[in-house]
């Protein structure tokens, strides 16, 4: 048992920290927010291509680096800190995870190498509770036609959908049960409607499917039901890591601002009330950091109890949502008047905090799931 990062892990973290600290500064984020795509294509090419981040957690047999949740968590923490605008979360943290955990070998062999190479962008909705999965599956119907499947229905709120090459869609089968399908964005019958969100650092669109023929079913036998607990756990973990990094940045921005701003002839960082509130932010953030790192370590342990991992990641996503929101709120408050202006950065984090609070389930719902495990 060891809680120290390996040298390689430290290198990955530092590389992400340095790259994003330069390439995803506030001005870059603000510029990306204004684009239709929602991100800077060239930045995406660099991190997907040169830096090879997309390959991190994909198995070597599918041309990945064969690393895992710990490394991806370290990248995600930096991505969250810089509010990285890129289809990294949708494609790598969500879609690749879904294909790995829910898909059969054929689908894995088809999609994972392309994702690892940074050549394919894929999106799926950020479903949390099983009720949300049920509702999503009920909204799309799939019926076989010869060797093909034909899909009809609607999928709401797909992240980074504008630039995606494929969508992952859960559908109700005409013969009963459900299946997971990959749908090419370019297929006939696919219609995208972008939805403008207050948090513009991660953009969404709805997708309407009308008699779409080119869908590829990716699950096999019971892979969907069997893989869901671990799949949901990992997605929540990667999001929690992002929220952790963002919360840290809220604290860093605040400590920096408080160290420069004078009121009543003193820097406000010297006021005990300000100190204590920053300290409380740090307590929450370090607690979350320990939990995120621990869950990442648990995810790669040989224990392999996916129900235990699911419980832990549900709890951590709830903790991350609450921590991020409270740190973003405090960042605005402790910035005083400028805190709620467009010009200063706390508002970017604040909007992301609110939006991400219900991705994959609200904190209340997730705590409910934890309580169900503890209390029946």
């Amino acid at each position: 048992m060891s809680f120290a990062f390996t040298e390689d892990q430290v290198l990955i973290r530092e590389s992400a920290e340095n790259f994003l600290g330069d390439a995803s500064r506030s001005d870059a984020v603000r510029a990306a927010m204004e684009t239709t795509l929602g991100y800077d294509e060239s930045l995406w090419q660099r991190l997907a291509g040169e830096l090879g981040w997309c390959a991190t957690a994909i198995a070597e047999e599918y041309d990945g680096l064969g690393l895992g949740p710990v490394e991806l968590v370290l990248i995600q923490e930096q991505a969250g800190r810089r509010l990285l605008c890129a289809p990294f979360f949708s494609t790598v943290c969500m879609a690749a995870t879904a294909v790995q955990q829910l898909g059969g070998h054929v689908a894995q062999a088809r999609f994972l190498p392309q994702i690892a190479a940074g050549e394919l962008r894929m999106s799926l909705p950020m479903l949390g509770t099983s009720a949300q999965w049920d509702a999503a599956a009920a909204a799309v119907h799939a019926h076989p036609q010869g060797d093909d499947w034909v899909l009809d229905g609607g999928v709401a709120l797909l992240p980074d959908a504008a630039g995606a090459d494929w969508f992952l869609v859960c559908a109700t089968l005409s013969a009963g049960g459900r299946g997971l399908f990959a749908v090419p964005a370019a297929a006939a019958g696919v219609k995208l409607t972008s939805r403008q969100t207050w948090d513009a650092t991660r953009q969404f669109a709805d997708v309407q499917l009308s008699g779409v023929h080119d869908a590829v079913r990716i699950d096999t036998a019971d892979s969907l039901a069997d893989g869901l607990p671990r799949c949901a756990a990992l997605m929540r973990l990667y999001l929690a890591a992002e929220q952790l990094g963002a919360a840290q940045q809220c604290l860093d921005l605040t400590v920096e601002y408080a160290g420069g701003r004078k009121q009543f002839g003193r820097v406000i960082a010297g006021f005990q009330a300000v100190k204590h509130r920053c300290a409380e932010m740090m307590v929450k953030i370090e607690a979350l950091r320990s939990a995120v790192y621990g869950a990442a370590a648990l995810a790669v342990s040989e224990d392999g109890d996916s129900a235990a991992l699911a419980m832990e990641c549900a709890a951590i996503k709830a903790l991350a949502s609450d921590t991020f929101y409270s740190c973003a709120q405090e960042a605005i408050q402790l910035h005083g008047g400028v805190g709620f202006t467009w010009e200063y950065d706390p508002q970017l984090y604040f909007k992301r905090a609110q939006a991400s609070s219900h991705w994959f389930g609200s904190a209340d719902a997730l705590r409910g799931a934890v309580a169900d495990r503890l209390l029946g």
Binding site: L157, W198, F264, G336, Q354, D364
Partner: protein, 398 residues
């Protein structure tokens, strides 16, 4: 102690309610529930017309003495007026700085000529006012005024400096400004309280974009802006006294109207929760119950504030008055979060849906509630020092 209204109160309540029903209709109907904090940019011209509609009904400046064009309503009646105005969805008052701040200050500190020049225009809804207190380096430290002023040979005043967080400056005709008239003076000494027309070459207004995208606050730059000799209120050097008298008045009866608007917002939240099923979520239910309890607290707290004090303490030192800003602003900020949590993903999407958009604006703008007019931190200092007699913050010698 009694809550029952007198028959006269009830009749008065019905008088306002029926006037509002009749007049807040037709072309004014779209103003319902609009124009409050966070929405002040809505329909500025129509809201100015609405001010004149109110004036025609004698419903402006209802608490002012009759000699100055008011109705001299009792506190109880003013409460009723504000409640019914807000209950009817009466729009945010374009005239509220004139009516609530500078008007009372002029009545108390102004010359006869100033009163004659300015008060009738305020009562009639013909001139609108902006305030110039805060400065970039004097947020919570209100007395740290850097804006300078000096008197020219002709007796007129010139103003040089910058004010910030000035709401509706671009929609106003006049601004009142606190500026340092004694070079080298510090803190609240040596200040002058001046009245300036906004439309002049020495004044530039730059909107401040808020997180929600709107810009109801501004920076106002003064570069040798002119105030006429007769447009100083009080003596040079007495500016702080005038300004503080005026802040006191801010904590007034209009809070009851504010509460009615809060109740309207809670109603929107309850309706949303019933619509999308979150009304059955236990955590949401608890938070809605807490929000409702807070409304009751605020109503009773405001009534307590407005009652005559037993020991003759001035309003600002009554315990319930000391806590009020902190209480309502934090309650309201929490209400914003509750609204968004009830809306869920629906709340994240930019929309014009009148069942959703006001809640989104409230969520964002309520971030400012705990910051402007004394941040939480300043409020807690004041409560501890004035309310509990705890030691004052040490202040480095100047």
């Amino acid at each position: 102690m009694r809550l029952d209204p007198t028959p006269e109160d009830e009749a008065f309540r019905e008088e306002i309610a029926s006037w509002m029903r009749k007049h807040l209709s037709g072309r004014f109907a779209e103003l319902k529930h609009r124009g409050g904090p966070g929405d002040e940019e809505a329909f500025p011209e129509l809201r100015k017309e609405w001010e004149r509609e109110l004036a025609a009904g004698d419903w402006t400046c209802v608490g002012w003495p009759e000699a100055h064009g008011g109705r001299a309503l009792s506190i109880e009646q003013q409460v009723i007026f504000h409640e019914e105005y807000a209950r009817a969805g009466g729009p945010g008052r374009m005239g509220h700085i004139g009516e609530g701040l500078i008007g009372p200050a002029l009545i108390k500190f102004g010359t006869a000529e100033q009163k004659q020049r300015f008060l009738p225009e305020i009562v009639a809804g013909r001139e609108f006012w902006a305030q110039g207190y805060s400065e970039p380096n004097a947020g919570s430290d209100l007395a740290n005024v850097q804006t300078r002023c000096w008197q020219e040979a002709d007796g007129s005043w010139r103003v040089q400096g910058q004010k910030i967080w000035t709401s509706l400056a671009h929609e106003s005709d006049w601004v009142f400004v606190l500026a340092r008239c004694e070079p080298g003076s510090k803190g609240n000494k040596g200040l002058a309280f001046l009245l300036l027309p906004l439309d002049q070459p020495g004044i530039e207004i730059r909107p401040i974009r808020q997180m929600s995208g709107g810009s109801e606050f501004n920076e106002v730059f003064f570069d040798g802006a002119v105030a006429q000799a007769e447009h100083i209120v009080g003596e040079p050097g007495d500016g702080w006294k005038v300004a503080m008298g005026l802040l006191e008045v801010e904590r007034g009866v209009s809070t009851l109207g504010q509460q009615m608007h809060f109740a309207y917002e809670l109603d929107l939240i309850i309706a949303a929760a019933k619509r999308n099923g979150r009304a059955s979520d236990p955590a949401i239910r608890t938070r809605i119950a807490d929000a409702w309890t807070g409304l009751r607290v605020m109503r009773y707290n405001a009534l307590r504030m407005l009652a005559p004090s037993e020991n003759g303490a001035e309003l600002g030192l009554k315990r319930e008055a000391l806590i009020y800003k902190y209480y309502w602003s934090n309650w309201h900020r929490d209400l914003g979060k509750l609204a968004m949590d009830v809306l869920g993903a629906e709340g994240d999407i930019v929309t014009d849906d009148p069942a959703i958009r006001p809640l989104q604006q409230m969520f964002f703008f309520s971030r400012a509630d705990t910051i402007y007019a004394g941040t939480n931190e300043i409020q807690l200092n004041l409560i501890a020092e004035r309310g509990l007699g705890m030691p004052r913050e040490p202040r480095p010698a100047n």
